[in-house]
């Protein structure tokens, strides 16, 4: 197998499995050989990594205070410390 055996169009469909470590050994060798010669596909992976990183920054921890208060009340009712 060589670089020519994996057109870029097919590489992009393997990109997630590659990043996830889910390829077979043989598939991974073909992908890595392709990447060694194909800088646009390396750029494609770098795009993917940048987007994954950016998506991670969207994570929010936010609980409306009235919701939190009613949940705390429910928690205290069942597990509350008598000295609390």
């Amino acid at each position: 197998m060589s670089y020519e055996d994996l057109p870029c169009r097919d590489f992009v469909e393997l990109a997630t499995d590659y990043l996830e470590g889910a390829l077979t050994v043989e598939q991974r060798l073909v992908v890595e050989r392709h990447l060694a010669f194909c800088s646009p596909c390396v750029d494609y992976l770098d795009q993917m990594r940048a987007v994954i990183h950016a998506t991670g920054t969207l994570r929010e921890e936010d609980v409306p205070e009235p919701v939190m208060e009613s949940l705390m009340d429910a928690f205290r009712a069942l597990h509350g410390r008598s000295d609390g």
């Binding site: 646009p40 940048a50 919701v67």
Partner: protein, 216 residues
Amino acid sequence: MGIARRSSDDELLVRLRTGDEAAFRQIVTQNHRAMTRLARSFVQSQSIADEVVQETWLAVIRGLDRFEGRSSLKTWIFRILVNRAKTRGIREQRTTPFSALTASEDDPSPAVDPERFLTGGAAFAGYWSIPPSRFFELPEDRVLADETLALIERAIVELPDRQQRVIRMRDLEGWDPAEVCDVLEISAENQRVLLHRARAKVRSAVEAHFSELVQT
């Protein structure tokens, strides 16, 4: 990592069972937003999603003493949530029937627009004709600008429900693949297919967003 997480789970569980309010506040803070999002993908309105999350927390509070630690505390909570959300979703006639939830994806479109590749019988058919831009080389505050993040959020919201659940849990919440499979009751392969479709669309939207900035 698994062992470390399990032992911190054990410690957290002891605190919760002995009525430690800070511990409870912590698990609510960490999970409430993600639970609300996930519930919303199964039911037809935000108010039903909020009810499902509320019911789930009450079930967690009541079930703490019975929790056996076979899964992580987080996956236990989310499995309760998904079970309740599915029950509500089916009752409200929103979720896809189980017969439609087979391994094949609802959306078999390619990850990248076929026009980006050379066609025909040329020696390089299937190779890039319009290669990926290098927007990732822009300064990080440019890549992570509010405008980009809003665009990513919009791209995620437009995804089919199953893709949206997976990309939110994996890339937004940072879950492990096995946890996602466990909570959503999907195979590892299906999880990857859904993630692949979802990431491809978000990537494509981000690349298009930066297309005027970056000459390839």
